[in-house]
């Protein structure tokens, strides 16, 4: 048996009187793709923010490869190999595409600089489908290309664990298929991925396992199809009448 890459236990985070994440535990095996589902406001993004260090947990532990990272600063967690994208896509507007990716390469795990870094930036841009766009200003990118660029910047950190926060949201059907293929190809490279997602097609075709959250708690865990047919999950999404 291998040990989990990411192991969260008893994770709790309050905002004033609101318990955004309530005693959540989960474990991610290396190379696994896990979906984090749940209605809006159920605490999914807060979990990602806790893992990536944007927020500190009130209670509970977050272990990456056996090391506690729950109280580490975001830049330290990033350097340990945890990369993320943001719910509302965040590219660096005054930098061109190459510089956006260089920013990830220059400070991440196995950071590079100079000629080697520039070559790696070209490779990563090609990897996400932005070949030949290195000198393009970010203002000229379409929405999906901005998402591709954000993913390239996350991959530039050479992550062990990739956190995708609704990275597939807002894409049209053909873009969605490209996006799913791209995420799937990352698994082929041995990357472990935790994705917050509402797009059910993507969840069914990508995820090995899913966790469903509601009001801060974990209410279900298992294979996507099994989880999505559980009564409590349906109740969380649709209310009592449909369960």
């Amino acid at each position: 048996m291998s040990t989990p890459l990411l192991e969260i236990s008893g994770l709790t985070r309050r905002f004033g009187g609101l318990i955004a994440v309530d005693n959540v535990s989960l474990a991610l095996m290396p190379g696994e793709i896990m979906g984090l589902l749940g209605p809006n406001g159920s605490g999914k993004s807060t979990v990602l923010n806790l893992i990536s260090g944007a927020l500190r947990p009130d209670v509970g532990s977050i272990r990456l490869d056996g090391h506690e990272i729950g109280n580490s600063a975001p830049h330290r967690i990033a350097r340990l190999g945890v990369a993320r994208t943001f719910q509302l896509v965040r590219i660096l507007p005054s930098l061109n595409c190459r510089e956006n990716v260089l920013a990830g390469i220059a400070f991440g795990r196995d950071a590079l600089w100079g000629h080697a870094a520039e070559q790696r930036a070209e490779t990563l841009l090609a990897r996400v489908g932005l070949a030949g766009r290195a000198a393009t200003a970010t203002g000229e990118l379409t929405y999906i290309d901005q998402k591709r660029l954000e993913l390239a910047r996350a991959l530039a950190l050479d992550p062990q664990l990739l956190l995708l926060d609704e990275w597939l949201a807002g894409l049209n059907p053909s873009e969605l298929q490209q996006g799913i293929a791209l995420v799937r190809s990352l698994r082929g490279e041995g990357m472990t991925i935790l994705l917050v997602e509402h797009v059910m097609d993507a969840i069914r075709s990508l995820c090995d396992r899913c966790i469903v959250m509601n009001a801060g708690r974990k209410i279900a865990e298992g294979a996507p199809d099994a989880v999505l047919s559980e009564a409590e999950v349906i109740r969380a999404y649709l209310g009592d009448d449909d369960a």
Binding site: H75, A78, A83, L92, A103, G104, F107
Partner: protein, 306 residues
């Protein structure tokens, strides 16, 4: 431009500027010193505030610390030691202030830095009134105008060299990322506190040394002269007029504005402040990108049309 050519052009420019005291008369040299003083301050200001977009009004706090250190230590030790001590004091204040305030952002940082300069002025005033019991000091050091000019030129060269090196380094990229989106910066592994404090301290070091070198110009200083907040605003507006996204940008703000202030002071001494205010408003309204940004946009437009 090729790096070798740029370096040669810079060397020729510096040699030309270094020769100024040899043929300038007293008035021209005095004007050259003012130009060089603001070149150092505006370039130092934009080293930190340009890429990070943290607008600092603490320029005169460090400038004044440098000037006051010289006033206190003059005649007690050799000039290089005085400069070193001034640098140490400025650096120490910058590190303390940087570590405690750079988590502030936007307008809060602006107000804090403005308050800092005023606070230091009040503390110095309080100390002089209650402890030394003389508000104001004479600065007697054996340094003439040409020496001051050459030292300022040296500081300007160092500030430009630092700017070039930083822009080519990871630190330079880190600062630009911070200016764009500090949250992203943290999540791609940038130690934002270190980057910001390092640059704030470097920028403050140049400002402190500039104040130290300028102190003998006055012969007499008191806190109102050394910590005059107008200096912070002038440096800010010069850097903005020139444009902060290029290292040489502030230069294009310093030269026209120093000449304008000189002209206004000579011709309209009673209306100086209101005319300067008008100039500030015109600059911000008409060329928000700065002169360099404006010129680049026009050049791009012409190329695009062709």
């Amino acid at each position: 431009m090729k790096p070798v050519l740029a370096l040669a052009a810079a060397a020729i420019a510096v040699a030309f500027l270094a020769a100024v005291p040899l043929y300038a008369d007293a008035y021209q040299l005095s004007l050259a010193i003012t130009l060089m003083n603001y070149t150092v301050l505006a370039t130092a200001w934009s080293l930190f505030s340009g890429p990070t977009r943290y607008v600092s009004l603490a320029t005169v706090a460090f400038f004044g610390i440098g000037a006051y250190t010289v006033a206190v230590l003059a005649e007690r030790m050799a000039w290089p030691y005085i400069l070193l001590i001034a640098l140490a004091v400025g650096l120490a204040v910058a590190l303390v202030v940087g570590l405690s305030t750079l988590r502030l952002s936007g307008v809060y940082f602006v107000i804090f830095t403005f308050g800092l300069a005023e606070l230091i002025r009040q503390i110095v005033t309080w100390y002089e009134v209650n402890v030394t019991r003389t508000l104001g000091r004479y600065v007697f050091v054996d340094i003439d105008a040409a020496d001051i000019y050459w030292q300022l030129l040296g500081l300007a060269v160092l500030a430009f060299a630092a700017g070039v090196l930083i822009r080519r380094s990871r630190l330079g990229l880190a600062l630009r990322v911070i200016g764009d989106d500090e949250t992203v910066a943290r999540h791609i592994g940038i130690n934002t506190t270190f980057a910001k404090v390092a640059l704030f301290a470097l920028s403050a070091s140049f400002m402190t040394l500039c104040g130290a070198v300028m102190a003998p110009r006055w012969t007499y200083i008191d806190p109102a002269i050394a910590f005059n907040p107008v200096v912070s605003f002038q440096v800010l507006i010069m850097a903005l007029l020139g444009g902060v996204h290029r290292l040489y940008g502030p230069l294009f703000g310093v030269v026209p504005l120093v000449l304008l202030f000189e002209f206004l002071l000579a011709r309209f001494p009673n209306h100086f402040s209101i005319l300067v205010g008008l100039a500030f408003m015109l600059i911000v309204y008409a060329i928000p990108q700065g002169i360099v940004g404006f010129a680049e946009r026009i050049a791009r437009g012409k190329r695009g049309a062709a």
